[in-house]
Every structure is written in C-alpha cells, then in structure tokens.
C-alpha cells in the first residue's frame, strides 16, 4: 500500500517538475528566439525588461492577460474556448513518453526518468501529433470567419501531409532499433546516433518537424501579418497566448523527439546525461530559429509539392533501402 503511494507521489512530482520546466522553457524559448533573431538581423532584440531582457516573458504574459479578449459573437463559443487548450494540451501530453535521462537510483528504488515508458511510444507520439491538428482545425472553424476557416483548412492539409513524411522517416529508426519504445531507441544509439547512420531519414524528419510545429519556412498556418488568414485570426488575449505557447511547447517536444530518435538522446561523454539531453534539444531549437532567420516562406503550392513529391517518395525509398540493408546485414 505504502509502496504504491510512494510510486504515485514520485510520478506526481515528476509530472509537476516536467510541467514547470517545460512551461518556463517555452516562455524563455520565445525570448531566446527573439534575441537570436535580433542578433541575426544586427539588432539587440528585447533588452529593456530586467537585466538583459530577462523579465520579457513575464511582461508578455502581463500584456496578454490585460489585453481585451474578443470572442466573435457568431462563433461557436464552446469550441472557440476549447481549441487553444487542445493545441497546448496535445503538445504537453506528448512529453509523457520522452526519456530524458537513464533511470536513477533514489533511496534504493529504480526511478525511470520518463513519465511513462510506453512500449509503443512512437505510435503514441504520432497519434498525439495527429490530434494536434484538431486544435488548428477547430480554431479555424469556431471563429466563424471565412479567413480563419481557410487558414484552418490550409494548415490542416499541411499538417496531414507532413505527418506522413514524419511517420515514414521514423520507420527506419524503428527498424534499426527493433523497438517502438523510446527508451529502447535511445539505448540502441549507444554507439552511433541514427543521424549519422541514416542521414536521409534525419533530414526528412527535421524538415517535416519544422512543418509540424509550423516553423518558418512552413509557417503558412499563421502567416501572422502577410496572409491575414491564419487559423487564429479571431483569437486575442490569453487565448491567442495559449496557441502561441502551445507552439513553443510543440517546438520543445519535437526537438526532444529529434534528440531521442536521431541524436542519441542522453548519450554523450563527460557531461551528465540530462545536460546532454537539454543541450541537444537546445541545439535543435537553435537550428529552427536559425532557419527562421534564413529562409523565406514557401508558397502554398510549393509547400504541398515539396511534401508529396519530394519528401514522401524519398522517405519511402529510404524505408526500402534501410530494410534491405538490415536484412543483408543479418545475413
């Protein structure tokens, strides 16, 4: 009985810790992005609030809370309330299966550094990222605005297309690790990370990851000021903030997925495993910010062509070749 209670308490503590770290990391990722983008454009970025702009996320939150929260009178109120939550929640839930360090021994009990070590973690992750589409689609629908609806449909098509490429890029990983469990996948990269073993899958996964978390050059779902037809056209105040934070949580999640699947997870010399994990996630985040500063946005037809005519055939081919090589190696 006490055994079960202690396990429960430990799981709850882990959950709270992850939630806190994840949310503050998302907030500070926004700051990091703005600062880095500034430096890449030869300006300073936010540096007024607090020393070096450290309190900028706090100021942003205060601004979002005190802004007028407009709800379109003809919209579907229930769904309008639900959609931003869905977007943030699905992103948060995906972190449940991410192993960020090897199990540690705490007071003589084995404590796995993952909320839930599912043996079908890859499927759970793919399923949740499909659910994330609902937040976008419902947000566009509930606003009862043509522009938001068009934006929602457009994002829907993009997310679905790139999810295919993402799933196909993961098949070689599963083949090589011989497991659907994320912990096993990390353990299988003890020697060499999969990014070096299968660079094609890595590149395809990175690109479709960028499209999945709506980062430039694939940020058509929002297209904040140019297209004025993003799915959150009608959102304001805290609800918009939820979409916004959800996106950055999503970026961290997908960054940690890239780390787990291709960069060898917590493996690394000298430093403690958790530090390696964080460094790798940060490196992926930096790469996405770097891309945002570099590449221009794709046109919608280019986006679809690239997804369907380049990424999906390439990853299909990669599955075939990887499978053949693995069979041949086995003898």
């Amino acid at each position: 009985m006490t055994e079960g209670l202690i396990t429960l308490a430990l799981i709850l503590a882990k959950l709270l810790l992850i939630l806190g770290v994840l949310l503050s990391a998302a907030a500070y990722l926004v700051l990091m992005e703005r600062k880095l983008l500034g430096r890449m454009q030869m300006r300073y970025g936010p540096n007024r609030a607090g020393p070096g702009g450290m309190f900028q996320p706090l100021a942003d939150v205060i601004k979002l809370i005190t802004k007028e929260d407009f709800i379109p009178p003809q919209g579907d109120r229930a769904i309008f309330f639900l959609a931003p939550g869905l977007a943030a929640l699905t992103a948060l839930l995906a972190f449940a299966v991410v192993p960020f360090a090897p199990p540690v021994n705490l007071f003589g009990r084995e404590l796995p550094m993952v909320v839930c070590d599912l043996n079908i973690g890859v499927l759970y992750f793919l399923g949740l990222s499909s659910l994330a589409v609902y937040g976008v689609a419902l947000g566009g629908w509930a606003s009862n605005s043509k522009y938001a609806l068009l934006g929602g449909i457009r994002s829907l098509a993009q997310l679905l297309s790139y999810e295919l490429a993402m799933g196909l890029a993961l098949i070689p990983v599963v083949l090589m690790a011989r497991s659907f469990s994320l912990t096993d996948i990390v353990l299988a990269q003890q020697g060499l990370p999969f990014a070096l073993l299968n660079p094609l899958a890595f590149v395809v996964f990175m690109i479709s990851t960028a499209a999945e978390c709506k980062r430039l050059p694939f940020d058509l779902p929002e297209a904040e000021n140019e297209l004025v037809a993003g799915f959150h056209t009608e959102y304001s105040g805290l609800r918009f903030g939820l979409f916004f934070v959800g996106e950055y949580i999503n970026l961290i999640i997908l960054g940690s997925m890239v780390t787990v699947f291709f960069l060898g997870g917590w493996h690394g010399p000298f430093l403690p495993p958790i530090v390696w994990f964080m460094l790798k996630v940060l490196a992926v985040a930096f790469f996405f910010i770097w891309t945002r500063a570099t590449l221009p946005r794709l046109r919608y037809d280019q986006l679809m062509h690239f997804g369907w005519k380049v990424l999906i055939p390439l990853s299909l081919l990669n599955v075939l070749v990887t499978g053949a090589v693995l069979l041949w190696l086995k003898g």
């Binding site: 430096r39 890449m40 454009q41 030869m42 300006r43 300073y44 570099t294 590449l295």
Partner: protein, 176 residues
Amino acid sequence: MTLFRDIKGTVQPFWITLRTMLRKPVTVQYPEEQRPPAERARARMILTRDPDGGERCVACHLCSAACPVDCISMQAAEAPDGRRYAAWFRINFARCIFCGLCAEACPTLAIQMSPEFAFCKDDPLDLVYEKQDLLVDHGGKNRDYNFYRHAGIGVVNPRGGNDDEYGPVDVKSNLP
C-alpha cells in the same frame, strides 16, 4: 543542374545569417545613446535674435498666414522708435505639423526651425509655447543677418542710409 543550384541556394544563406549573428548590432539605444541631429534638422521652431541682441521678429503675421494648420498667433506692437515687435507670440505645437512654411515665409529670419525634436508632454496645454519659451539668445542658422541693416525704417541707420539701400522715394515727383 538546377537541383544543385537550388540546394546551394538553400544552404548558403545559413552561413550568412550565422556570420551576421557574430557581428555587433548597429542599433542606437535611443534614450541612453542619442545621436545629435544635423544642425539644419527641422524640428521645433525658435524665435532668433539679430547680432546686436534685439528681437528679429517684426510681427508681420506672414508666418501665421503661411501656417496651414493655423497654430501660430501673435499680437503686433510698436516701440517708441517706430520699430514693430510682437507683444505676445504663441505657437501651439500640439497642432504644428513641422512643415517649415513659417520659417520660409519669414522676411527677417526671425522664426527658424531648430534640431530639438524630443519635447513630448503629458498635457497638450504644455505644448502651447509662449514668446519667452520660443525666444533664444542667438541668431540661429544665420548669425550675422540683421533685417534693419538692409531695409525697413531707420532703426540702425537713418532711413536709406544702409549700404545696399536707396533713399526714400519722393512721392511728389514723377521721376523714377
């Protein structure tokens, strides 16, 4: 070959942004770092004085007439020697559009634009500048000019006594 060109065109910009990231920003941190505007920058108006220290303004109302938003008003008065001056002079900077037409219209170079641009106020009434707020103790952009040394009634020299001036016309005569 276009494939290689496309890949190169996608990868090359990454190097450029990375290189730019390590360079020093060119931003001027405004309230702390202020770059002085050029001397001929045209911001708020001033009333200048001639080299002898007298007011240049002769209250001719030309600036007020030229002003497209009617933000200048004044009251003319006359000194014992016949010289005109502004009894009061008022510019409402809450209305002013800084077009510079008043400075162009001024025959005596009295009203000029100065480079002072940062003079925001909380209360619009604080932006109504009276004569004592506008008057400065220098000649502005042309420090040597004195209207009464070229024209006007005999304030500096007797009438018609200036170098580039003719004497008064004899209105009783037909001769030019």
